[in-house]
C-alpha cells in the first residue's frame, strides 16, 4: 500500500516540487499551481511559466495526529494552507516550530525538505515545507 511515491511520478513533478513552477494565464493573469492546460477563469489556453514567491502567511492550519500509513513516523506534524504573496494558496507542512506558536496570519517561508519515501530501499520524494519567519 502507499503509492504516494513512484519513480515516474516523482520525476514528472520535479518542476513543481523543486522549483515551484506555476503558470500564469496570458489573457486574464490568473495563476495556477500546479500548471494547467486551460484557464478555469477565461478558458484561454496560453500560459507563461512563472515561479511562485517563497513567502506568505498562514491562511489556516491543523496538527495531524492520526496520519495515513505513509506518514506514521512523522506524527504529530503541522499542516497549513499558505497564502503566498501573490495570493496563490498552497498546502504544505509547517516544520521546525512549536505548535503553540502557530496562528492564522503569521508569516512563513518555504524551504526545501524531504516529504516522504517509498520504503527503506525506495526513492525519496523531496519538495517544499514551510517554517515561521522570525519577526
Amino acid at each position: 500500500m502507499g503509492k504516494g511515491v513512484t519513480v515516474p511520478k516523482t520525476w514528472r513533478e520535479f518542476p513543481q516540487r523543486y522549483r515551484l513552477e506555476a503558470s500564469k494565464c496570458n489573457n486574464c493573469g490568473k495563476i495556477f499551481f500546479p500548471p494547467r492546460l486551460i484557464c478555469s477563469n477565461c478558458k484561454s489556453r496560453e500560459f507563461t511559466p512563472i515561479k511562485l514567491p517563497k513567502e506568505g502567511k498562514i491562511y489556516s492550519f491543523t496538527i495531524i495526529r492520526t496520519p495515513s500509513s505513509e506518514f506514521k513516523d512523522y506524527s504529530p506534524f503541522a499542516i497549513a494552507l499558505i497564502e503566498l504573496e501573490n495570493g496563490v494558496k498552497i498546502m504544505s507542512q509547517l516544520v521546525d516550530c512549536n505548535f503553540n506558536d502557530l496562528e492564522i496570519g503569521k508569516r512563513v517561508k518555504l524551504v526545501f525538505r524531504k516529504i516522504q519515501e517509498d520504503s527503506s530501499s525506495g526513492i525519496i520524494a523531496y519538495g517544499y515545507k514551510c517554517v515561521l519567519v522570525k519577526s
Binding site: I63, P67, S68, I115, G127
Partner: protein
C-alpha cells in the same frame, strides 16, 4: 421526463461487520428493499461505491453484485464520487427511469472499510482528496476539515462548543436508531475531552470508519401504487462540483458545490429552505454540518454554530437535521451514506421512524458530499 418514486428501502446495521463481506452486506440491504415493495424483477442496478479497490481489493462491482443478488445479465453500473457515490448512483438511476429507458431500478450504496487498518483506511480515504497536492504532504480528511473549521472559527467566531453540540445532537438522535454504529448519547464534556485527531477536531467530531450497505427501489410514479401505498416522490435533484483541492478555493468556509446543488434542487422542486420538514446532511465532521446548514439556506452564513446551539436543528426544532444520527452516530460507510440518507428520509416521510419520528414530515432533503466538497448531490423527496 417521467415522475419518479421510491417504493422500497433496505439498510444493514452500520459498524465493524467483520463477519460479513462487501457482497454479503450489499445483498442483505438489496433483499430488504426488494421485499419492502415486492418487486419481482428489476430492470437495472446502480451501485454507489467509493473504493472497493483500496479497501477490499475488489473492483468490477457491477458484475459481482448482480451475480450475488441472483440477477446475472441485469445491467449493473458502479458509480463513484467519493463520499457522494451513493447519491450520485440515485441521480443516475433517476435519470434512467425519468427518461423512460427503464422502469424498476435497484439503487444501492455499499462500502466495506474495516478489512484494512486505520492507517490504510486513511490512505484510501485520501484518494478522495488531491493525491498529488494535498495527500502528498500528509494531510488527512480530518485534517482538511480541521482547516475549514479553524478558518470558520477565525472568520465567524464559531466556537469549539458549537462544533461539539453537533455531535451531541446527532448522537442523541442516533441513540434511537437501531442501525446506528454508535447508538448512544455523548455529553458535551466527552466531545470536548476526546482525543485530538487534527486540531481543533477531536475524535468525537469525526464520523467513524464503517461497513454498511443501503438500498432503494425506484420506479415511475405512475406505477408506484402497484408496489406500495406509501410512495415517496423525488421532486428535486441537484448536482454540482467544486475544485478538488481546498487551496484552489477563494473561500473554504462556503462549500460552493452545496450552494449550487441546493439551488438546483430547490428550483426543480419548487420549494424553499423553509418548506423543508427535515434534512439529512453530510456531517462527516461536525464542522461539515455547520457549513451544510448555512450553505443549504437553513441558517445565515456564519450563524450555523449559533443555530445548532439554539436548537434550530434539534429533532423538535424548526428544521430537524440528521434525525438518523447522521454520519457521526449512524456511521459512514462512504459509498453507502448517500443511500442511507435517502432510506432515512423515506422512512420519516412514511411515518415509520418510531422513536425518532419527525412530526408532520412531508418534504425531506438529503445532502451528500464527496471529499472536501468537490462533489455534492442534493435530493428533495415528498410523501405522496
Amino acid at each position: 421526463m417521467r415522475d419518479v418514486a421510491i417504493i422500497g428501502v433496505g439498510i444493514t446495521k452500520f459498524g465493524e461487520l467483520w463477519e460479513k463481506s462487501l457482497r454479503d452486506i450489499f445483498v442483505e440491504s438489496a433483499l430488504q428493499a426488494i421485499d419492502n415493495c415486492g418487486v419481482k424483477k428489476i430492470d437495472a442496478m446502480y451501485i454507489g461505491n467509493f473504493s472497493g479497490g483500496l479497501f477490499v481489493g475488489q473492483e468490477h462491482l457491477g458484475s459481482l453484485l448482480a451475480d450475488y443478488l441472483g440477477c446475472v445479465s441485469v445491467p449493473a453500473t458502479r458509480v463513484e464520487a467519493a463520499c457522494a457515490s451513493g447519491a450520485l448512483a440515485l441521480k443516475q438511476a433517476f435519470l434512467e427511469v425519468a427518461s423512460g429507458f427503464s422502469d424498476i431500478i435497484l439503487v444501492s450504496g455499499v462500502e466495506k472499510m474495516t478489512d484494512v487498518d486505520t492507517g490504510e483506511a486513511t490512505f484510501g480515504l485520501a484518494a478522495a482528496a488531491d493525491r498529488e497536492y494535498e495527500a502528498f504532504h500528509g494531510v488527512t480528511f480530518p485534517g482538511l476539515y480541521a482547516l475549514i473549521a479553524r478558518r470558520h472559527m477565525f472568520e465567524y467566531g464559531t466556537t469549539r462548543e458549537q462544533l461539539a453540540k453537533v455531535a451531541v445532537k446527532n448522537h442523541k438522535n442516533g441513540a434511537k436508531n437501531p442501525h446506528a454504529q454508535f447508538p448512544f448519547e455523548v455529553t458535551l464534556e466527552q466531545v470536548l475531552n476526546s482525543t485530538l485527531i487534527a486540531d481543533p477536531l477531536r475524535l468525537l467530531d469525526c464520523s467513524p470508519i464503517s461497513d454498511g450497505a443501503a438500498s432503494v427501489i425506484i420506479c415511475p410514479l405512475e406505477r408506484a401504487k402497484e408496489f406500495t401505498n406509501k410512495p415517496v416522490k423525488i421532486i428535486g435533484v441537484g448536482h454540482a462540483t467544486d475544485t478538488i483541492a481546498l487551496a484552489d478555493r477563494e473561500n473554504i468556509t462556503t462549500l460552493r458545490a452545496t450552494v449550487e446543488a441546493g439551488k438546483q434542487a430547490y428550483k426543480m422542486a419548487g420549494v424553499k429552505p423553509e418548506d423543508i420538514d427535515l434534512a439529512e446532511v453530510h456531517d462527516c465532521f461536525t464542522i461539515a454540518e455547520i457549513c451544510a446548514i448555512e450553505d443549504l439556506g437553513f441558517a445565515n452564513k456564519g450563524e450555523g454554530g449559533k443555530a445548532v446551539e439554539e436548537g434550530l436543528t434539534d429533532i423538535d426544532g424548526k428544521i430537524p437535521v440528521n434525525p438518523s444520527g447522521g454520519l457521526k452516530s449512524k456511521g459512514h460507510p462512504v459509498g453507502a451514506t448517500g443511500i442511507a440518507q435517502i432510506v432515512e428520509v423515506v422512512t420519516q416521510l412514511r411515518g415509520e421512524a418510531g422513536e425518532r419520528q419527525v412530526k408532520n414530515a412531508k418534504i425531506g432533503l438529503t445532502h451528500n458530499l464527496g471529499g472536501s466538497g468537490g462533489s455534492v448531490i442534493v435530493h428533495i423527496l415528498e410523501a405522496m
